[in-house]
Symmetry: C2
Subunit: 218 residues, 2 copies
DNA sequence: ACCTGAACACCGTTCAAGT
DNA sequence: ACCTGAACACCGTTCAAGT
């Protein structure tokens, strides 16, 4: 018996196994042992199915900030969680963008991140700048990581799925260099946030003088 | 008369006009007024053609650092240039990753960036962390920008192609909010680099204590 | 209610010709 | 030398049936 859930589950498995490029409704149907058209009773199109997958992969309940954390610890925790979420199904990463109907803005983890920035003492516009810096870093790092790690495309790169403890012992996790470098470079970004915070809430906005020397591209 | 160049030029035009999703060898051939198979005399496969396009789009001569710039000005200039390069052909951005044979590492702009970081007083490993932070920020920001700007997919989003002067007057450029926010958040990252530089060359590496409180994703 | 085969308008690419 | 049509093994999706 077919169902939306059974289809979505198998679709995610197929995506993890074979990659986005070779995914097709016909292959999915073959795996489920049904005719292609049966799928269309449950999802009106491939796009709708992909939207569901995006929701399932990236809509996972985000980590709750632990009480008593500094804003920095909170941001590191959220960033690490987010990266693990993205890497859990590496082949689904492009779906985050194409089917971006995922409500990123309202999600608790995102709000927790904004709150952490406010706790750091940033004004509203400063927090927005910091938020974009961190968000772009996250997306960019994982994108580059996915594309660089073990060849250019496709192959299922099983993520380090083991749970790492909620408390301090993540040193072994840091042995893997991708993980370590992710955190190390994140520190650079967070140092920038620290500097913003230290400059106080009345820091003047960025002016043209700060961008002197920008040059045309070609 | 067909040629590698004529095919590549038309392919880029087709890509800019209609997006990556709907690009096909058959459509390209129709646009050139030839049979599909003629294309295969010049490019052995669609993948090879795409590699050529990636080289053409992202291999453009990068901006030279102006003499007398501070490292910060240099980095801002390079980042802005790189973003404009990526946005010049937004539909080609995915090619940068899929056909990443593009020699990013050896390119002058990249080396200039590394040099700017050394000028800031960073040690070799510090420069590597800072480099990854900036690089991930660039890729992430442009990726998010591309996916958010004017709907989810496809449509040709003509970039602001006007040349802006090499000297200070880039204030009008900053009127567009994507541009302004790109620079503003880049400042946060660069503030982090400044902090690294101020801490001196002997700053201890990131330790597990800095990542206390990281939590599992689900 | 639930599933499906045939058909349509597409793909990328091979191969054996055409000029 | 340069180009090509027919053919193969694929796509997503519509539509009119089958059970």
């Amino acid at each position: 018996m077919l169902s939306r859930e059974r289809i979505a589950t198998m679709a995610l498995a197929l995506l993890d196994d074979e990659g986005l490029e070779t995914f097709s409704m016909r292959r999915l149907a073959r795996r489920l042992g049904v005719g292609v058209m049966s799928l269309y009773r449950y999802y009106p199109s491939k796009d709708e199915l992909f939207s569901e997958l995006a929701r399932q992969v990236f809509g996972a309940a985000p980590a709750e900030p632990a009480p008593g954390e500094t804003w920095r610890e909170c941001l590191v925790g959220l960033a690490v969680s987010f990266r693990r979420l993205l890497l859990a199904h590496p082949n689904a990463l492009p779906l985050l963008f194409k089917h971006g109907g995922v409500p990123l803005r309202g999600r608790p983890a995102i709000e927790a991140m904004r709150q952490a920035l406010k706790d750091a003492g940033l004004s509203e516009p400063e927090a927005a700048d910091a938020w974009r810096a961190i968000g772009a870093y996250l997306v960019g790092y994982v994108t580059v990581e996915r594309m660089t790690r073990s060849g250019a495309s496709g192959g299922a790169t099983p993520p380090p799925e083991r749970d790492f403890p909620a408390l301090a012992r993540i040193a072994p996790y840091l042995k893997d260099s991708w993980d370590a470098q992710f955190v190390a470079s994140l520190m650079v970004v967070l140092d920038g946030v620290t500097r913003l915070a230290e400059a106080g809430p009345c820091r003047p906005p960025v002016t043209a003088s700060g961008t002197k020397g920008a040059r045309s591209a070609r």
